[in-house]
Structure formats: C-alpha cells, structure tokens
Amino acid sequence: MALLELEHVSKDFGAIRALSDVSFSIEPGQVVGLMGDNGAGKSTLVKIISGIYQPTGGQVKFEGQPAHIHSPGEARRLGIETVYQDLALADNLTAAANIFLGRELKYNFGPFRFLRHRAMNARAAELFAELKSETRADDLVRQMSGGQRQAVAIARTRLADAKLILMDEPTAAISVRQVAEVLSLIHRLKDAGIAVILISHRMPDVFAVCERVIVMRRGSKVADKPIADTSPEEVTALITGAREAA
C-alpha cells in the first residue's frame, strides 16, 4: 500500500494556478527527488503535504485513508515531518528548545505544567548522537554553523516516529562537506524505513540518494521515473521545457 497518494491535486491563489492536476504516490521507505525550476510548484506541493496550504481540488491520501491536513500539527500527528528551506529555527533558543518547540515535554505540578529541561536536553543529545553530529543540545542556535543548524532541523523530524520526511532544499545553503553530511543523513533515514521527499535544485544530490525523480514544470507533473531509467541531461531538459514530457 502506498504511504502517500496525491490524486489530481490542484491549488489556486486567486487567479493564479500554482498546481494543476498533480498525481503521484510514494511507497514506504522510498526516497524520491522532486525537481523543477523556480515557480514550478515544488514548494506549494510541499506546503500542501505538510498542512500549511489546503488543496483547491483533488485529494491527499495517507496510508490509504483520505487525509485532510489542516495544520502542521495535524501533519505531524499523521507522521509527516518537514525540514523547511529556511530551517524554521528560532535563533534565540537552544538546539533542544528548537527541537521540542510546539511539543515540549512537561510534568504536572498541581494544576501547572512545567518543562522537563533535563529530559529534553538528554533526548536532543541522543538524537544528535544518532545523526553523528557534534551539536550540543544546550547551545544557542545563533552560535551555530550552517551544518549544525541543518542537524537541528533534521533532528527535529526524528523526535516522533515519522513515516515521511519532506526536505525543502536541505543542501542549498551549506558547504560541500556539509552536503555530504546531509546526504548521509538521508541514507540513514532510508535505512530506518522512512520515506523522504527531497526537493532540490542540485542534480548530483538527487542522483546520489533518490531512487525516483518527479519533475514539475509550471504547476504540472511532467515526469515521474526511476533514477536508473533517466539521466541528469534528460531531467534538465524536462525542467527547462526543452523536452515536454517523459
């Protein structure tokens, strides 16, 4: 059974059609690249799956059930986590505080609920160890490098038992060495049986980790094929429109 299915999904912003009739499905544990030029509709698609936008038409199914994902919280409850392009981190908080933002661990003290600082720091440290990152749980994000920030954003997705992780341009703003780092993180997610949708401009990244690639152009899906059956040249042609469809 497919993990995520999109059936004829479209999205309008007023008179502008950002997505039109997009259908595809993702199997559990599959790493799929989502490519397309700026304005092709990748981010809109991600925001629909992660609950920020509602589709204007069509429907989204998760684990076979029609899913109405009204909010990022709802997406998380289903097991969909997102690493946003700008990472969505609050600079003035610690790594642990960012990881647990919106789902803090608390204990009851009479009618009050207080934070379990130590438990959250310990769990965050565990996650960083799992990701083989030296990021410290109680350091402020303000003082961190691009790679460390990425590690915090990815660690956040590992907090709950995610089944699908959306990554929006995770390698856009970091150094070459850190790119290798993030790609190995994706491999580790796949090994753990987690499906990943990787949105990227970088052809080498997609060809290094994905088993399938979906290409978008002007709000429509123009290709959806196994990596083994395609080439960077073909994907480039599809993105730019030099080839209509594959």
Binding site: A90, D91, L93, G102, R136, D139, S145, E181
Partner: protein, 343 residues
C-alpha cells in the same frame, strides 16, 4: 559512503560560562552598573542608604515596575505597547468611578465588596484594552507601534471624556482598606507595591523559563514563522501577551491611584516612555527574542536610583530625563560592542 564522510561538525567550541546565560546578558552588565552606582551614591550621600530613603526608592520604582514586566513580555515577542500610560489612567479612573458609584448607590453587602468589584471593573477594562491591542496586532496584522499609538490616544481621550478632565476619587466604606492595600507597608517595613511586584516577577520568571507558553513567547520574538510552522499558536500567544501587559499596567494604575488618593485624568501621561526605557535598559531587545523579569526590575531600579541620587545631590532634577536617555544609549552600545566582539 555514508559513514566515511561523517567526521561530524567539528568546528564547535564550548562557550565559557561567562559567555552564556544570565552572565552574558545585558541585564548582568546593567546590574553591575547599578551596584557601582549604589556604592558611589552611598559614599557621596549619607542619606542614601537610610531606611526611609530606601523605602521611598522601592515604592517609587514599584509604581512602574509591574507595568515594565508586562512591557518586557510584549517586547520579547518583538512588539511594543505605547498605550500603557493611557491604560494606567483609564484603569485607575474606572476603579475610582466604580467605587464612588457603589458608594453613592449604598451598595456594600460585606466589607471589601466595593473594593473587589471596583478593582475587578478596573482590571476588566485593562484586559479589554489589551485584547483590543492584541487582536488588532495578531489577527488584523497591524503594526504594534501604530496600533498602540492609536490606542494611547483613544483611551486617554475616553479617560478625559469620562471625567471631563477632572480627577476622580475613590470613596466609600472600603476606601481605608484600599489605601492600606496600595500604599501601606507589609509588617510596617516593606511597601505593598513592592510585595505585588515581587509576586508578579516570580510568576513571570517561572512562566518564561519553565513553561511551554514562556518558550513560545521567546520563539515568537526569535522567529515568528518558525513558531507557526512548528505548530505554536502564535496569534493566541500574542493576544495573551498584550492582555497581560495591559493588566500589568492597569494594576500599576490602581496602585498609584491608591497612593495618591485620587485618579487624575492626566495620570501617567508619558509613562510609556519611562516604562519602555526601563525595559530596554534592563536588557529587553526591541528586535524581539531577548529579555526577562529580572532585567525589567533592574532597569526600573536604575532609573529610580538615578532620579533619587540627583535629588539627594541637589542637582536640578530636570537632568534626570537627559541622564536616563544617556543610559539607554550606553546600555545598548555596550551590548552592541559585546556582540561585535563575540561574533
């Protein structure tokens, strides 16, 4: 290939303890300045550390400090509330008017009842003002500066309309109790306003540092969209913050009117500037994300110690305002130099 590429993010150096937490904050520097100032003052003037003078200082800074706590919350979320002076006046006026009205109507079923009802009416007014500000800012997405500049004028205008520009006076059987609770002293030593301030500050510290709500307040100031994306109910928290700020200002208004024995229609005019100054001196960052209860109080004490010191030193008290301005700039400058050095 996965594991060979991983050497970890090794450009990580542990920051030293004095570069972290409270010790690294502007509040700590200002506290140091305050201690130095107090030492200098007590050497320069034998009157400075007398019991009576200390009690005066404590009472005077408590008059604005509760409102400064509320203001600090708003500033942490990256907002500003210019309407606190008007909120102080309107809350005090409504409280006085209600007490006077209950007295005229002869409504007094049990001792303290008139006081409870009138303070309740005052705080309800304050909460309504805060909701108005918060709703306009969080839901209608108006700029906090412009919104509260507007409500500054609106609620001052309503205060003048209600009173025709005259002062109102708390009256009736509960007046004695009201005066005792607002300008009396606990155990004949500690001024009551300071007791309330201490209570509020402890609650605020606890909430900011040890609850999820407090963390959301900081997160909104640090990166509002990150808060939204991670499921924080940003709009709700913002509205709550403005309500708390207005309630804090209103509480200060009630306390001041109790001490004065009246609520003049021009009460607390331009206090918003002193309150914002105290918050900023105490380390609240107007860009959002940084600030705390301790800093707010330190800022208030510093302003009052300077004012008091100038009076004791027989310096023209009009210099106070200029000096407070100098300290605001100096405090921000020191913070700027420090962050330049560490980055």
């Amino acid at each position: 290939m996965a594991d060979q590429t991983v050497q970890g993010f090794s450009n990580v150096r542990r920051t030293r303890f004095w570069q972290r937490g409270f010790l690294a904050s502007q509040s700590a520097y200002v506290l140091l300045a305050l201690v130095v100032l107090i030492v200098v003052m007590s050497i320069a003037s034998p009157q400075f550390l007398t019991g009576g003078n200390v009690a005066n200082i404590v009472r005077n800074f408590s008059f604005i400090a509760i409102a400064t706590l509320g203001m600090t919350l708003v500033i942490i979320t990256g907002g500003i509330d210019l309407s606190v002076g008007s909120t102080i006046a309107l809350t005090a006026t409504v409280t006085s008017l209600t007490m006077g009205g209950l007295n005229a109507a002869g409504f007094h079923p049990f001792p303290g009842s008139a006081l409870i009802i009138s303070v309740g009416a005052g705080l309800l007014t304050a909460a309504a003002i805060g909701f108005f500000n918060g709703f306009a800012i969080a839901k209608l997405k108006l700029s906090p500066f412009v919104t509260t500049l507007g409500t500054l004028s609106i609620f001052r205008g309503i205060t003048y309309t209600l009173t025709q520009g005259r002062g109102t006076f708390p009256a009736g059987p509960d007046k004695e109790l009201f005066v005792t609770l607002t300008s009396g002293r606990l155990f004949d030593i500690v001024p009551m306003p300071f007791v309330y301030l201490l209570g509020c500050a402890i609650v605020m510290w606890l909430v900011l540092n040890h609850t999820a709500w407090g963390r959301y307040v900081y997160a909104i100031g640090g990166n509002e969209s990150a808060g939204r994306l991670t499921g924080v109910r940003v709009d709700r928290v913002k509205i709550q913050v403005y309500i708390i700020c207005a309630l804090a200002a209103g509480a200060n208004g009630i306390i001041i009117s109790g001490w004065l024995g009246s609520a003049p229609a021009n009460l607390a005019t331009a206090y918003e500037l002193t309150i914002i100054a105290a918050a900023v001196i105490g380390g609240a960052n107007l860009a959002g994300g940084i600030g705390g209860a301790a800093g707010a109080i330190i800022g208030c004490i510093l302003i009052e110690v300077i004012r008091n010191g100038l009076v004791l030193a027989r310096v023209d008290p009009y210099w106070q305002q200029a000096l407070v301005g100098v300290i605001i700039v100096a405090a921000v400058l020191v913070d700027r130099l420090r962050s330049l050095r560490s980055s």
